[in-house]
Chain length 434, copies 2
């Protein structure tokens, strides 16, 4: 194998893929088991060339991919693995830094600390927060609730809105904490007057919930948490990136008072999966909860390793891709993309509102529109199935006040006004067929 | 930014790096804070070209890297980000598959299931195990102990050898389980007759402990676990890959009886960090412990998503790099590398044994040699510091029966007999200077 030649083939493959991804069926149109059935049941005894991997990627795997890189992916949240992010992953793998101690990669640790400071500046977070990177928000929330539990061992309740992400449920289950879901108001925001903090160790407030991107009233929640001495964790996994734009920053009022904040640059910031950034103003609580240095890792360093602030020992050099994205887009480049997505979502929202057949069913603070046909739930559900089966676009759903609701989420860096207009045409086309 | 041109630069950078990595100081020779101090304190407002990232990698970051890719890295465990693995990471990032449901990437899920079956076949594991990929063994062990806890909620004790990895301690702490460390015998193996399984929910047996790569007596441990109805988790994170070679498979006797088994292909199998493979014969226990599907992810699929078997919702397309490595090396290629590493370790062990100044202090079942100068602990410690400060090689340490011990770990695919001979020369050179 010649790395330069195979590398050229791989770069060309990715470049061609990104050039044609808009034309591919967004949601894979295969039956369960079909991909696997098309591949050998056993590994080869003898080496194969890398070109054989690329060939199978084209000939066997491609139909079984759903394309988050498509500008016509509007499901869940729109994401982008941007070009500097993709190439940084190549560098990360080439360097294969082993992040277990500062000394095993000073650059990994110091660039992680630096980029978390950079991103905190961009988002308007206070100075002096301690930041590190986790794989996903599931882990960021888990370790934060574990930190909260560690300082109030007799308080075993976590509170969050009924619209909080399922990762809060999973974290509470693993940590054997009771989870109390607090009802939301008419705009899907946690009602702070219903927070009962006796016996609570933490509250999770969400800025940008998964279903509607609603914003919990963080200032009021922070007041209550402060009065009761309860840990406040802010989940801004999707929406946090929007704090890059001063005109959107009012949604983030009060988050600087949180004990911990999670934002996922792999959602709206152009960083490839995985990259979840976690800040805290109480790093010592994490370190007390997680630090455990066995003899074979004791080297008398004055520097605490980032692994002492979390559950897993080894970390990838994810900071390099975050650094590459922040540099290659710059503040203005990233702001431009966020603003365009919000503009496109507002445009789509306007089209829906202007059509008597449809309705918008939730406020739209960011780039996700919740809407539905003014028909039965079953018709909306079948509409979604037809739309996604067409392969033209990919849209997902939720349920609000018992009703089946469609979500159009804009977040891919390649999405244009034409793509959004196309999505609206596809939705109306399929609606007219029922 | 032009992806093809920048991609060519990035491939060339990695190729050049891998060509010269043997000549670089293996352990970074920088002071804490030096890397960070050399970089701007704030992110740029305007976009920079990707070439600026590469330039800083050369001019600012390079001295702060420790080089796990160096054939002269002998610390902790030797690892390799092999060429197919590196290029697969480029593809993974380019595709950016979102692994949250089967439908969001049928290929991600089915290739993960397939490659886990392939690897199970290569390692001689039984048919029919359920496998998935985690980031690190820390997580594989955590979710396995959580599964064990879920079916015996009143049994709150985990047992393992005093030589088990610190990730067992961290998992027990997070899960609020009591951890009982069982004494080891003269060859650093758990003494099964000391296992007290009353109130136990799990035993962790290690094949290839971190300090000495000792092998716990899994058959006897499995007997006891079976009799008591206690979950057996086998940690073969490092050594598991050696089961590829029939002549080494006797070390793995009994592991097929485990409830869960973890092997890290990012350690000895040439896969870039991160890739930890986890098999279980009791997938329903994981699913009961972890599955939690909120409305916005409910799509009536018949296929359970892999996220239902673990803590985090989103997963990267790690299967692609494992698949690329298994194909581009093949069974014989991988066996050849394992065998060569074991041969080189045996050679080094022989040199140490033949020199009256030195002693071997633990059996060497795989590719790690534990040894020391026949002098005071302090002299061995200073020797290690001088060796690593030279930048010529990187070696780590442990403590056995209270004594300071050096470890030479062979595992990088580029390591040759000349490199190992060089390591021995450096060690003797520095020893003669004290």
């Amino acid at each position: 194998m010649t790395f330069r030649e195979d590398g050229a083939l791989a770069v060309d493959w990715v470049a061609s893929y990104l050039e044609r991804v808009r034309e591919l069926p967004v949601l894979a149109q295969v039956e369960p088991g079909a991909v696997r059935a098309a591949l050998p049941r056993s590994p080869p005894d003898e080496p194969e060339p890398f070109g054989a991997v690329l060939r199978d990627l084209d000939e066997v795997l491609l139909p079984g991919l759903s394309h988050s890189q498509s500008p016509r992916w509007f499901a869940y949240f729109g994401i982008t693995s941007s070009e500097p992010g993709v190439l940084a992953e190549l560098l990360i793998a080439g360097l294969n830094q082993l992040g277990i101690l500062w000394r095993t990669s000073p650059v990994l640790q110091e660039l992680e600390e630096l980029t978390l400071d950079w991103l905190a500046q961009l988002l308007g977070l206070p100075e002096g927060l301690h930041g590190h990177i986790e794989d996903t928000a599931s882990t960021s929330t888990l370790v934060s609730l574990a930190a909260a539990r560690s300082i109030r061992p007799d308080a075993r309740t976590v509170l969050c809105s009924e619209h909080a992400h399922s990762s809060v449920d999973k974290a509470a289950k693993l940590l054997e904490l009771d989870l109390r879901k607090v009802p939301a108001d008419n705009e899907f925001r946690l009602r702070p007057e219903l927070l009962e903090l006796d016996g609570a160790c933490a509250v999770v407030a969400t800025i940008g919930t998964t279903s509607t991107t609603s914003v919990d009233p963080v200032p009021a929640i922070a007041d209550r948490c402060a009065a009761a001495g309860v840990w406040l964790h802010v989940d801004a996994a999707y929406a946090g990136t929007a704090a890059l734009c001063p005109e959107l920053r009012h949604h983030f009022a009060g988050w600087e008072r949180a004990d911990s904040i999670v934002v996922n640059p792999h959602k709206w910031l152009g960083v490839p999966i995985d990259c979840s950034t976690l800040w805290t103003r109480r790093p010592d609580v994490y370190r007390d909860a997680f630090s455990l240095v066995p003899e074979y890792l004791r080297v008398g360093e004055e520097v605490a390793s980032l692994s002492e602030y979390t559950q897993v020992l080894g970390r990838r050099f994810r900071a390099l891709k975050l650094w590459a994205v922040l540099r290659c887009y710059g503040r203005t480049g990233l702001q431009g993309r966020i603003r365009e997505h919000v503009r496109l979502a507002a445009l789509f929202e306007g089209w829906v509102r202007a059509d008597a057949e449809w309705e918008v069913v939730a406020p739209r603070p960011f780039s996700v529109v919740c809407f539905r046909l003014r028909r039965l739930d079953e018709e909306n559900e079948r509409l979604l199935e037809r739309v996604n089966a067409s392969g033209d676009i990919f849209v997902s759903h939720t349920r609000l006040r018992g009703r089946y609701v469609l979500r159009l989420a804009i977040g891919n860096f390649g999405t244009t006004e034409e793509d959004v207009r196309f999505a609206w045409e596809v939705l109306r086309r399929e609606a007219s067929r029922s």
